[in-house]
Subunit: 320 residues, 2 copies
Amino acid sequence: MSILITGAAGFIGSNLVKVFLEQKKIVFGIDNLSRGDLSNLDFAKDNNNFHFKVLNILDFQEFNNFIKEKHLISPIQEVWHLAANSDIPAGIINAEVDLNDTFMTTFNTLQLMKEFNIPIIVFASSSAIYGNLGEKKLVEDIGPLFPISNYGAMKLASEVAISASVESHLKQAFIFRFPNVIGIPATHGVIIDFINKLIETPNNLNVLGDGTQQKTYLHIEELIDAMLFIRKYSAEKISFFNIGADDEGASVKFIAEEVRNVVSPSASITYGDGNKGWVGDVPKFTYSIDKLRSLGWSPKLSSLESVRKAINQIYKDRLK
Amino acid sequence: MSILITGAAGFIGSNLVKVFLEQKKIVFGIDNLSRGDLSNLDFAKDNNNFHFKVLNILDFQEFNNFIKEKHLISPIQEVWHLAANSDIPAGIINAEVDLNDTFMTTFNTLQLMKEFNIPIIVFASSSAIYGNLGEKKLVEDIGPLFPISNYGAMKLASEVAISASVESHLKQAFIFRFPNVIGIPATHGVIIDFINKLIETPNNLNVLGDGTQQKTYLHIEELIDAMLFIRKYSAEKISFFNIGADDEGASVKFIAEEVRNVVSPSASITYGDGNKGWVGDVPKFTYSIDKLRSLGWSPKLSSLESVRKAINQIYKDRLK
């Protein structure tokens, strides 16, 4: 029995590969390297249980051939589908980015899971599916669901393509709605942006927006831990869970100041106007993880602690 | 100012064309004729305010050229997007049917609305987006939304692509969640199936399932009336409404008996087992139209009355 990870060379994918290999599982990994990086998988390249191929899921025939071949070596029992666009603004400019990289990768994956009778999918969804519900607490079964970015829309479209597949051919689906996840290897996001900006101009950090924008952050190590926990203990046909920190989050101002303190302590910080970074960015929301807590898992770090830990790890990584 | 109707030669599209032409509006219609039929538009062919083209929305370049040309004649102010797969079982067998005919038609339409600054979309969604929520009353903001058919999934995927577009470029969106709509020109559905079966074998009507399956039905004339009412009186950026009958619905047994009484009164009726017609078919649900009623609209016919009216119209049409 083996596991297929799509987006295996990405931030979350490469961390998952590491954990599954430590558990002595056979892991097939694919990635088109559009956002992932082969160097993220350096640790695994001599491991005989790991089989990686550079592959674009949109090339249906090649994807089909890959699964057919690997299925003969060791039947694929589950797919952890992480391949997706992770750049929200890119999808605002061009809707085809999320259509192809998020939705169509899911659609093609489901088609081949049907073809090859692979029973279980684990999908990396997002808090962005909730859109802007104002002050309402974001519990998993809230409605209405009107995402405000193509990123959120195509994550939700993927969720519902999965739910239809559960009725027709899948045995089980796990849908994890991620918050902002931080840590290494960092590929994008506010922390690495601020670090890069301060390395370039060490005297001043120029922040988009007024700095009051507040979000929860979860460290990658906790995210992986939560996903494995849910995978192990939830038995629903469709297990859908928010995963996140259990607090008020960290403001952009907090992150800017913490990065400044680590990278260039004497730098000044200047802010822009408004608390919305870009079209499709939800200004403030309260994320409920009560369902996950009821299952028995809680985060060990607060958003603030996760941010501090990630800043140190990313900066150290950046200096290599 | 003009209106573009996609799926203009279909059941609902052709009825809408009629109403808008009566209102002296300029109407552009397209249809790929995969399920629609040109004869449905016979009444409009000599009307100078109606411009129809056989066109597949999936052919993006041709669709682009069409809108560009029509936009010069009379700027398109709103799109009534009805082009979609309407055959739920077809999408269960092959997920690409709903992907292409429902979701990708919406995606391409939104792309061109952005390109040509067309501000308003009206979208024909479905009660199928709600999946199987058991005994819960289906109000518009219920969750979680896990459709059990690709049909429902791609309708919901279309809704959320629209919601992301409202944030980025649309001025307003109207999302109408249809129940089973009946009337003429009938293209598919249980009534025409039963009529055809009884014409073929006048002694016996063989019913799939045990006949207890119960759904609400709305007559096309009421549906059109409700859509125009919401379009006129709802001012939300995203106006999303269930449209339906306000009752317990009609059972398959009721429909079978009514069709029998009209088509072949002496025929016997035989039933199968179970109350689920096919994978992806929701057995029973209670549809709330409280939101629509609050806006000021209620149906004049019950499900039973709509079924009776439609049976007579469809049978008469079938005998022509």
